[in-house]
Symmetry: C2
Subunit: 549 residues, 2 copies
């Protein structure tokens, strides 16, 4: 193999492909250069001129840039299987994702992990999985699965993981929880998850060996974490949008500590704007240079995660690259391992359909009735206030129930009958309810409505596979089945997109501000590691005080 | 261990040391910050305030900076054993070196490697060895040892090497020499050595998996190599001095591709100025910022060589650091693994004396006589011209022998009697000769003089251990024995320094421009991988044409 590459670079052997006359992004010198890119055996062998190849791609007036790397994503949040997910991100320039199968693992444990590895095979997207470090994400959860330190060690050696995924249990880290410390002692690379953590607590957390954070929301927070040695994954997903704030922290000198990620992004948003491509454009619109943005999308994540031979257009690098117009509006070609995998936005590969028997029919709920969702408002009771474009919630004490909706979380793994309830502010629902089997991170059923009858019908209608259900005046008006763990559809992405469109339209029937972001907000209402107040099947949880209220 | 660090960071357990009120270099944000540095169990656990410790170091008005890493060095060139070398570099702020035991390995093979590992044990200098990739350095050599691909594989698994050292045989790489390719196929990290290599040949060389280069002599050469994915080790040693030229290539964006190294530096120069400390000061005097220079001396080499936990002052990093005044003129304290190893320039540790039986008495020469060194000048014959501060030589054709000296290379490993001879320009010798058993890379005897009698006496006087010998008018006027492989003295560094001083003084007796740089120049006269014309025991070699003349 080495000999072959050298022969091609020396011009002794014909190359497979030449991308000719393009303007190539030199990630190392942070500039664009004129050069032909010579490819052989899936690798870039030379930048230069005067070469011959079996195939020539004309890149006159076009950019040739390394394809993108998403530094942290939960594929489940797209509602697609990994195989179908590849078909919507590759045409938008992504060829590698660092994926955390946290959601399906909370539902199904190792069965979910195994499915995710299998589904990603056979598509030209490099899915580098991190092993979820927090299943359940806190000791306060009723999830479908538990992965302790012993099982962590076993799974790390059994599967080809890149490391341990987001260590959300920062309280466990800084208080030396023995199971957490044992996980950190495996020597694996560990991703962080430490919103607002600062000063001595931040130092203690980093002493656990944690190397990244994707939860920064201010530039000051990012700068402190960088100073203490962390890499910052700048997130722009459907729910959480941090680019505008965080790029204020970027300097020419700390640029190499930043990478883009999406964390959680919905199918419709991906199809519309892409994932990392959207991060790049958003960052540029907020004032970052094109070169800086491309750096954060390519070589930086490759270096942070030690992905050898990725993220650059240089000899001996993998031929993962994009030929695009200079506005980045049209990605003409995407190449993976030297093969064209997308042309003018259309994927040129097929996924492989695999059995979902082991990962479907996962919903087990004790029969509900309207009275399960009754909740009386009393003055002085804590209420969850949601905030635009953020996963952070606030604890408020409104003086009346005006404009509040009811939300509830129904345990769905072991049919325990546990239901937590609370009022929620800033999501308006009228004459209806929405229920879904997506609810980070334990993925119990989250339901939102203005009356107990519709809420009960919505939960009931999710069936044994689960999904998303909208009820209006006693009738189901839209339903998307999510056969895989109650989290992902097993259908082709175009069908899922159509179902999703219907869901979003029908949300408007019961909510005047209705949009897909309501679904994303619902998904995170029960995530007790994000401040300030959350709800799960055991009731309201005060994240700051780290206890149930 | 992790638990202990976290306890200290949280303030629950007393720290070992606090470095208080210093100005700390934040390598990640490229700035200085005010913070106490908290150390426990040899690691930095926190930057902050309000901590307590068993020992407090006052750093008011002082810098606290990560200690330095020399990215590429041949310890042998200092004339000291690794154990003694540690005593002169640690007080100058170096606590880690990436060392290539190329010289001793060319003389002694595995015996030399084993000795170098042993000698470095027991001193607080982290010596990370690279396995020499080119022993002999070209097929044209008569060295004392041969390491082929099979032995390379064996040694890589037997010893704890960081990778393969400088791949000097670029001709072998780009022409797919099978033994070279097999070495490159081991998957090890490979250092490069590719002076003036450019364009397609450079790309082919990099396809061999070669990741660094320390032979750049112009900024343009550095920029091209960076563009093609290489890391540039900016060298400032006794013979080769590249900082002034190469820092012109440094930008805020490619800064992370540069590190400092010394390659070959003589004991006297190290004691006077240090190694990497000198690089930093020289670079600053040439216009680089202090922050850039410190970055190239610390975090950059750590990242290039994947030295985990090194190169920064941040939680979970190894407590290798320097407390110094803000001029960098006085390194008050050097800490290694959290322990003070040097105070105000004096090492606070002892080396360990080990047996040199396996590595001494290495010189085997066929008896020489004056007529072996007779050489007649004829017009049109090629002559070696040396250049100031460079290892590069030029092929010239002077019209007379005026100002020329005679040089010769005498095979010394197998007593074959091979002697190569040539005239040399720009080194003046009068009524005397210098001979030494140091001659890169095969380390045959190099001798320089203006008359055959003194040359013969000088070679003869080197003895079975070898060393450096100066003869004037038929008498030995100075001699330094180099018991270890004919390359290094086994004596304490102060004694070696005194002997070296005597040698340098006596050089002036036979050469009006005499200085230690004559010794370094002599050492490289036979290194046939550096352009343009070299001499070894088989005669004059044209490096450009890659053949004997």
């Amino acid at each position: 193999m080495i000999s072959k590459l050298i022969d091609v670079a020396m011009g002794r052997t014909l190359a497979d492909i030449i991308i000719k006359d393009g303007t190539v992004f030199d990630v190392f010198n942070h500039t664009f250069i004129k050069a032909d890119v010579v490819i052989s055996n899936g690798k870039i062998v030379a930048l230069g001129s005067g070469y011959s190849a079996k195939e020539t791609i004309d890149a006159t007036d076009k950019y040739v840039i390394p394809s993108f790397i998403d530094a942290h994503v939960h594929i489940e949040s797209s509602l697609l299987t990994p195989s179908e997910y590849a078909k919507i991100v590759i045409p938008k320039g992504v060829t590698t994702v660092i994926a955390d199968p946290h959601e399906i693992t909370n539902v199904l444990g190792e069965k979910g992990i195994s499915y995710m590895f299998d589904s990603a095979k056979g598509v030209p997207l490099d899915v580098e999985y991190m092993l979820p470090s927090c299943v359940p994400c806190t000791p306060f959860e009723h999830s479908g699965s538990v992965i302790d330190a012993n099982l962590t060690r076993e799974l790390l050696s059994k599967y080809n993981f890149l490391g341990l995924a987001e260590m959300m249990n920062f309280v466990g880290v800084i208080n030396n929880d023995s199971d957490v410390i044992e996980k950190l002692s495996t020597g694996a690379f560990v991703d962080g998850h430490a919103p607002l953590l600062t000063a001595n607590e931040l130092c203690a957390y980093i002493c656990g060996g944690i190397q990244t954070d994707h939860e920064c929301s201010t530039s000051g927070e990012a700068l402190e974490k960088i100073s203490r040695g962390m890499n910052i994954l700048v997130r722009e997903g459907t729910g959480a949008k941090n680019i505008q704030q965080l790029i204020k922290a970027v300097t020419p000198y700390n640029l190499n500590r930043f990478a883009f990620c999406t964390d959680d992004k919905h199918i419709a948003d991906i199809v519309a704007d892409g994932t990392i491509l959207h991060c790049i454009k958003k960052a540029i619109s907020c004032g970052l240079s094109l070169e800086d943005a491309l750096t954060m999308a390519t070589i930086n994540p490759a270096k942070i995660y030690n992905l050898k031979g990725k993220g650059a257009i240089a000899p001996n690098y993998v031929a993962d690259l994009i030929v695009c117009d200079k506005s980045l509006d049209s990605l003409h070609l995407v190449l993976k391992d030297g093969a064209i995998v997308s042309k003018d936005g259309v994927p040129s590969f097929n996924g492989k359909s695999i059995s979902i028997q082991e990962v479907s029919n996962t919903v087990r709920v004790k029969k509900v009735s309207p009275q399960d969702f009754q909740l009386e408002f009393t003055k002085g009771m804590p209420v969850i206030e949601t905030m635009k474009d953020s996963l952070i919630t606030r604890k408020v004490y409104p003086s009346s129930a005006d404009g509040l909706s009811i939300c509830a979380v129904v345990e769905r793994h072991k049919a325990t009958g546990n239901i937590g309830k609370a009022f929620i502010k800033n999501i308006d629902i009228k004459d209806g309810a929405i229920a879904q089997t997506i609810g980070h991170d334990s993925h119990n059923i989250t339901v939102l409505g203005d009356n107990p009858i519709d809420m009960s019908i919505a939960v009931d209608s999710l069936g044994s596979n689960g999904g998303i259900c909208i009820v209006h005046n006693g009738k189901v008006i839209s339903y998307m089945e999510l056969e895989v763990a109650g989290l992902m559809s097993n259908k082709p992405y175009l069908e899922v997109l159509a179902m999703d469109k219907d869901i979003v339209e029908k949300i408007k029937v019961i909510s005047k501000d209705g949009s897909s972001s309501i679904l994303m907000l619902l998904s995170f209402l029960s995530l007790v590691v994000i401040p300030e107040i959350k709800l799960n099947d055991r009731g309201l949880f005060d994240v700051i005080e780290w206890k149930y209220m």
